[in-house]
Symmetry: C2
């Protein structure tokens, strides 16, 4: 049996796939820092060699303003359906070196996990796709396979809309399999049917052109930190709701059926959150569980703030400016550009006349709700079920993968979201890791999906 | 005539006093930065040599936990009154090097000003005291002179209360002359009868122990920036008043007489403030002019804020903490410790239960209102009037000089505040400078005061 031979091949070839993973993890393909641009490209070229030399794919690098998009194509039987395999080969910066137990770009196996930046998000997932196709090729590829591997996911996929529009024909596919959404636990294979969108903002508020002595001017000179805190501090009410007019207008309400489904997902309780994160408890929008707030409700989140004198000791000045970074996570049917207009209107209505200010709007990604009852979902459910021996969970994610909405919008390709990164894989944090037994199961599950998919 | 001979001596010795000033300005006696501690000491020792070798004073260095206090004593005729001359030999850090037209610790004369960090605040003022005593000694010292020269004014004079208590006997004097308060213009000699006090605060608000992915936790995890902005942003109302309960209770109201007196002081109008500082206009407590707000009303001022991700681009995290530096300028009869209790009570009442926080209280200085109708003030008025040919202004200052309240409280010595730094001398800023013709007049005025003071 062909599927059986492919799975057998996976078993035999695991050492080779591990070497691929380790080599890939050694490339610091940090897309958020322009000084690593050549390393990001090196990751794309390394993948291009795997696709061309190991998978015999036809390969193209599509250049963009930032990092290249790698496209690959392996024809299957004539008339067979086509699956598009998505991945991003860029990673987050490692952050504080002291917080890591090993070098972020020197993969190390401890226990049954491999530790490195990008291990979970999502280099192991990309290698799982390559390994599954490699094994299926050996046993007889049952369908047409295409690869779409981008290098800008961690910066919001700004080049992707243009690339998808330019190459919609090449990207034509019956489905996109995207393993960037993780799973809920080692024995909880997961299909994710919803993603939050994202709108990024940076607000700068200006006081006096230069810092002034607060003894001489304090009390009469506008203070930009005071003005920013006054306005931004009122963007949530006592119930944790965002006060920006219109913010919730387009939000699709949670149905009782969906709330019931989401309530089955694991999530740390208040006591666990106190212990693990040192906070007194959860916070957020009244009327929703903490899990619902993170998966199915929009947010306004402050990420960073810097202004005035922040050195040691004191300097009694009226500061000249303050910068605040924040974002909104969005849910269907909110539109990032519309939310941008609402935020701007709020600031125009509330910022006091005694300061100047500027709002910068970063790239937005729309929220996504995917169907969960199609034949393609059914095939993926079955592949996961056969691999883990349990019925997979249906989940939403509070995170954002811009490619999903963009692929739908610009190339008319629907995505299936899953993944083999565990909740404690510490994506974006120190000591990021991939659980290796789960990874191997993930390869098997992708193989099963390739053989099961009928278009 | 003795006064005449002393003034004559000043004229002849000006080149020597200029050399003193330039040598003194070359010492980077930055008290706010511990790495400069030896330079601060070097400034004290340089002054000790001037007092001992040039003024034949009996000199002592009183050690403290930080920087030494220099005490000097020159006996005059038996039975004569005693004047204590106060100065601080420490300076602010220079700040951004690019903003300076010259090297901050390499004094340069341009036009009729000398440029260097500390020129105005207050090394030229200290040298004016030394020069006046030098000249008076040559002509016949009419009274007992003591010097109190400290090195911690720019960090709030934390060691001074202890020193004053330990050496109250040595410091006994009929009056203290303190030339650290500046003047309102080159032709507006000024006696300052009021200073604002100061209470320094640093608030740290904590969220999750480590930064968390806002896609996974955003909306449910407490955000310390949100909590801090929400509470601190409400510490002023729409009328610019501080909302902390009890904050204004001890504030002595401005009398109509005093408001009339203050209204004569020069202060930039709205158009000038727009042009010079690039702000749309003034801000502050309703019911008071901008000048009154800076001189005679208490404030709560935010100096700096830092939390979360502040690098380039974006990082969508729930931040783990934020730190806010702020202070209150105080007016009679507010007490810094009482204001600290009020601020703490406000935070306890308003900080949300979902975050932990910590309030640090820095050293406080009480506000000061000095009598303006004593014989000593009359002597100083006359000395300034004879030197500039105009009636001096009576002013309050919005700044803080802790020594004034401390000398009163711990050594029972009342201060007279004046000074020869102009409003555009840029104390604490880049290109700090001392107007040299005004400085020479200042030396003459101090000489006149020494000869006029009858105790």
């Amino acid at each position: 049996m062909t599927l059986g031979r492919a799975l057998e091949h996976v078993r035999h070839q695991m050492p080779r796939y591990r070497r691929w993973l380790e080599d890939f993890l050694r490339i610091p393909s940090i897309s958020t820092d322009p000084t690593y641009a050549s390393e990001v490209r090196r990751a794309a070229e390394w993948l291009a060699r795997r696709l061309r030399n190991d998978l015999q794919a036809r390969v193209m690098l599509w250049e963009t303003e930032k990092h290249p998009v790698l496209f690959g194509e392996i024809p299957g039987p004539s008339g067979a359906p086509t699956v598009l395999l998505y991945g991003h080969y860029d990673v987050q910066p490692p952050g504080e070196a002291e917080a890591w137990q090993s070098m972020p770009f020197e993969p190390v196996v401890m226990g049954d996990r491999i530790y490195a930046r990008g291990a979970a998000d999502m280099k192991a997932q990309i290698i799982a796709l390559l390994a599954a196709v490699d094994a299926a090729r050996e046993a007889g590829l049952p369908l047409n396979v295409k690869f779409l591997l981008e290098g800008e996911e961690e910066i919001g996929s700004p080049s992707l809309p243009r690339v998808l529009q330019d190459h919609a024909e090449a990207l034509r596919a019956d489905i996109c399999l995207n393993p960037d959404a993780g799973m809920q636990g080692p024995d909880l294979p997961t299909i994710t049917y919803g993603l939050r969108g994202l709108a990024l903002f940076e607000l700068e508020v200006y006081g006096p052109k230069e810092e002034l002595h607060s003894g001489l001017y304090g009390g009469a000179m506008p203070n930009p930190i005071q003005a920013a805190m006054r306005v931004l501090g009122c963007m949530h009410d006592d119930q944790g709701r965002v006060t920006v007019p219109g913010f919730y207008d387009a939000v699709r309400p949670l149905t009782p059926e969906e709330r019931e489904m989401l309530s089955r997902l694991p999530f740390p309780d208040e006591e666990e959150v106190r212990r693990r994160y040192g906070v007194p408890g959860y916070w957020g929008e009244a009327g929703y569980t903490p899990l619902e707030r993170t998966l199915a409700r929009p947010t306004l989140e402050f990420h960073g703030i810097l202004g005035g004198y922040v050195g040691t000791g004191s300097k009694t000045i009226v500061p000249s400016s303050v910068t605040v970074k924040f974002s909104c996570r969005l849910v269907p049917d909110q539109d990032p550009d519309e939310v941008h207009r609402q935020i701007r209107a709020y600031l125009e209505a509330h910022m006091p006349p005694y300061v100047r200010w500027e709002l910068r709007y970063g790239v937005g990604a729309p929220p996504v709700l995917l169907p969960w009852d199609t034949p393609a979902v059914q095939t993926l459910r079955q592949a996961l079920q056969e691999t883990w021996g349990v019925e997979p969970l249906l989940a939403r994610s509070g995170g954002t993968i811009p490619a999903v909405a963009f692929l739908q919008q610009y190339a008319d390709v629907t995505s299936l979201l899953t993944g083999f990164a565990l909740p404690d894989s510490r994506a974006h944090g120190p000591n990021e890791n991939q659980h290796l037994p789960t990874w191997e199961k993930g390869i098997q599950a992708v193989v099963r999906f390739l053989y099961g998919f009928r278009g």
